[in-house]
């Protein structure tokens, strides 16, 4: 390989490195030296797969013909800022494991050293070597078991083997196609602690999940977007609208719940009358005794209880003042029960409540008459039943607050529910998967 005359190509004011071009010792293709620092040990030709020793005049270490470049929106030489630090992409490694493929891009900063950008199915992580090591037990933990690196606690995600399928550019070690490593990953989104174990060493890295759009903008990648597939192990849940809605709904859940409970406990009104109608009374219809209502324009509740069993009945109820009907209503009762292979079952209720208001205080009567009914599944003979009637005035219905409670509870659970569904997707691929 011959070095060409130096060509200083400062591509940006922040790039002070001297970019040179050399010829590959394998195929003669021009290779750009991206100024990756003195820890670069190998230069890898993307064209022919030749691996060269960066510290021994680019002597050929290995050749891997026919390597196919994996897909990635990034290219060698691209520059961009991550956490306000300018980086250059100087190397690339393609990986494969159990049908999944991903790309690690080696980044170099003259002030902050080396880092990686991991790209997998539209997800991007910023990866750096960490000196805060977890306990060696990380290699034997089960999914979801905890491990700490001294700075934060992680949950073990998965262990697997991975093979190198592609190498290009400058790397801080001699990577070869076919090299295999064992990996272990533990997560504390947006962070992922990973251990990589090869035949010669064990290293640990800390990944931070980055929003892909942010990285694309930083590296001036515009136009086409690459949708994210599934949920990445380190991807943080992001549902600002649902979370905001849930937060906003929480006080209303409490308020409507307290009010509904208070009304249920104390809103039953005052009992002003009780009377029992016998079957004969109901067959022919009968007036009740005089009922003194002192609080007009407030709800009056008729609480009625029959002894219907496997029967239904329809009652006409008239409200009378001075013997004159001022209005009427119908009320149907239906109650069926039995046993089958699943056990006891029941349907409907032998009791019911009816509400009405009167315009002025005074003495009122009720006329109640059985209008129709039947027994069994098909019978149409009106059933024999009694009817216990209790009248309360000043009744306050909790109905609307119960509806509000239901609606606000659903809204309050929206955020946590979405988060749970997101976590299920995250763990779906590893739950029950113990390939080690």
């Amino acid at each position: 390989m011959k070095e060409q005359p130096h060509q200083d190509q400062d591509s940006s004011p922040e790039n002070t490195s001297r970019v040179r071009s050399i010829q590959c010792r394998g195929c003669g293709a021009p290779l750009t030296l991206l100024g990756g620092g003195h820890k670069i040990l190998s230069l890898n030709c993307a064209h022919c797969g030749t691996v060269m020793d960066a510290h021994k005049n680019y002597a050929v270490l290995a050749r891997f013909h026919g390597q196919q470049p994996p897909f990635s929106p990034f290219e060698l030489g691209m520059q961009g800022k991550i956490h306000d630090v300018p980086f250059t992409i100087i190397g690339m490694i393609g990986w494969e494991s159990q049908g999944y493929a991903w790309v690690d891009l080696l980044l170099y900063s003259e002030t902050h050293g080396y880092a990686w950008l991991g790209y997998e199915r539209g997800h991007i992580c910023f990866v750096r070597k960490t000196r805060h090591l977890p306990s060696a037990t990380i290699w034997s933990l089960q999914p979801r078991q905890s491990v700490s690196d001294g700075k934060r606690s992680y949950k073990l995600y998965e262990r697997y083997m991975a093979d190198i399928t592609y190498v290009a550019g400058e790397l801080t070690w001699v990577a070869k196609v076919g090299d295999r490593i064992q990996l272990v990953e533990a997560i504390a989104p947006p962070f992922l602690l990973s251990g990589e174990r090869s035949n010669t060493e064990t290293e640990y890295h800390l990944s931070e999940y980055l929003e892909p759009e942010t990285v694309y903008r930083a590296f001036n990648i515009s136009g086409k977007t690459w949708p994210r597939a599934g949920v990445h192990a380190a991807q943080p849940y992001h549902g600002p609208l649902k979370d905001a809605l849930s937060r906003a709904a929480r006080p209303f859940v409490i308020i409507s719940g307290v009010i509904a409970a208070a009304l249920w406990l104390f809103g039953g009104g005052t009992r002003i009358h009780h009377e029992t109608f016998l079957p004969g009374d109901l067959q022919t219809g009968r007036h009740s005794a005089e009922i003194e209502i002192t609080r007009p324009n407030r709800l009056v509740a008729l609480e009625m209880q029959t002894n219907l069993r496997n029967a239904w009945a329809d009652f006409d109820i008239d409200v009378l003042k001075n013997g004159e009907e001022i209005f009427s209503m119908g009320k149907e009762f239906s109650f069926y029960e039995g046993r089958d292979s699943d056990g006891y079952w029941s349907e409907g209720s032998p009791g019911a409540r009816a509400l009405f208001k009167v315009p002025e205080p005074g003495s009122y009567q009720l006329n109640i008459q059985l209008a129709g009914g039947g027994t069994g599944e098909t019978g149409n003979t009106p059933p024999q039943t009694t009817l216990d009637l209790t009248v309360r005035q000043g009744y306050i219905s909790s109905y609307y607050f119960v509806i509000l409670l239901i609606i606000t509870t659903v809204a309050a659970l929206l955020g946590p529910g979405a988060r749970i569904a997101f976590e299920r997707k995250r763990w779906k691929e590893v739950d029950g998967d113990d390939d080690d």
Binding site: T16, K39, H83, E110, T111, G113, R128, R131, G150
Partner: protein
């Protein structure tokens, strides 16, 4: 708060006469900012060492005289050494905290380490291991802790700037070994040519957590 010391007086460069305000009390060596003369500081004044030290400007997060903070503490770099080794070079910065106490910040392509020289009384009574005993990946028990030898090489002084707590000679070399311990700790053993052993203890720091004061 600017980092200052109770150094009673400033000196003047014996070569060019420029004022040489000292940043810290125990400076043993300084490079005149005006004429690049190397000066040895002695009890009764300073002596012109006669050599000049010029370091090539390289991109660096740490700059001489520019304060920075890490983990809620403020530091000021006042001295700068550069060493060459097999792969390239690394920089050593002598930094002062708010109290004027100094420590070393070692920087090698994004690998940052704070290190404090250990005084002889803190070293074990038993002899320290020789450089040849510290083979890569070998486990060593020192200072009541287990360490692993993760790097061993030879460093050559390329030059220096600013004010330093010890005399350094351009071109001098020494062997060194890095021993890695738990919780990002690091022990460095240096073997100068005079047969002594210098021990420093410190820890790795994340450059992304260093905040440069502007």
């Amino acid at each position: 708060m600017p980092i200052t010391s109770d150094q009673p007086a400033s000196y003047h460069c014996p070569n060019c006469g420029a004022e040489l305000p000292l940043r810290f009390r125990y400076a043993k060596m300084a490079v005149c900012e005006h004429c690049d003369s190397t000066l040895f500081l002695e009890d009764d004044g300073m002596r012109l060492a006669g050599t000049r030290s010029v370091l090539a400007a390289m991109p660096s997060l740490i700059q001489l005289g520019q304060g920075f903070s890490y983990d809620t503490r403020d530091y000021l770099p006042v001295g700068h050494l550069r060493y060459r080794y097999k792969l390239g070079f690394w920089d050593e910065w002598w930094i002062l905290d708010r109290n004027g106490d100094g420590l070393w910040l070692s920087v090698d392509e994004g690998d940052f380490v704070f290190e404090q020289p250990l005084q002889p009384e803190r070293l074990p009574a038993t002899p320290l291991p020789g450089f040849k005993q510290l083979q890569l990946n070998r486990s060593v028990r020192l200072l009541e802790q287990d360490w692993t030898v993760t790097e061993r090489d030879r460093g050559h002084c390329e030059g220096f700037r600013g004010q330093l707590p010890a005399r350094v000679t351009e071109g001098e070399s020494f062997f060194y070994a890095h021993l890695s311990g738990p919780d990002a700790s690091l022990l460095t053993l240096e073997y100068p040519q005079d047969g002594s052993v210098n021990v420093s203890r410190g820890y790795w720091v994340d450059p992304f957590e260093i905040r440069i004061r502007t």
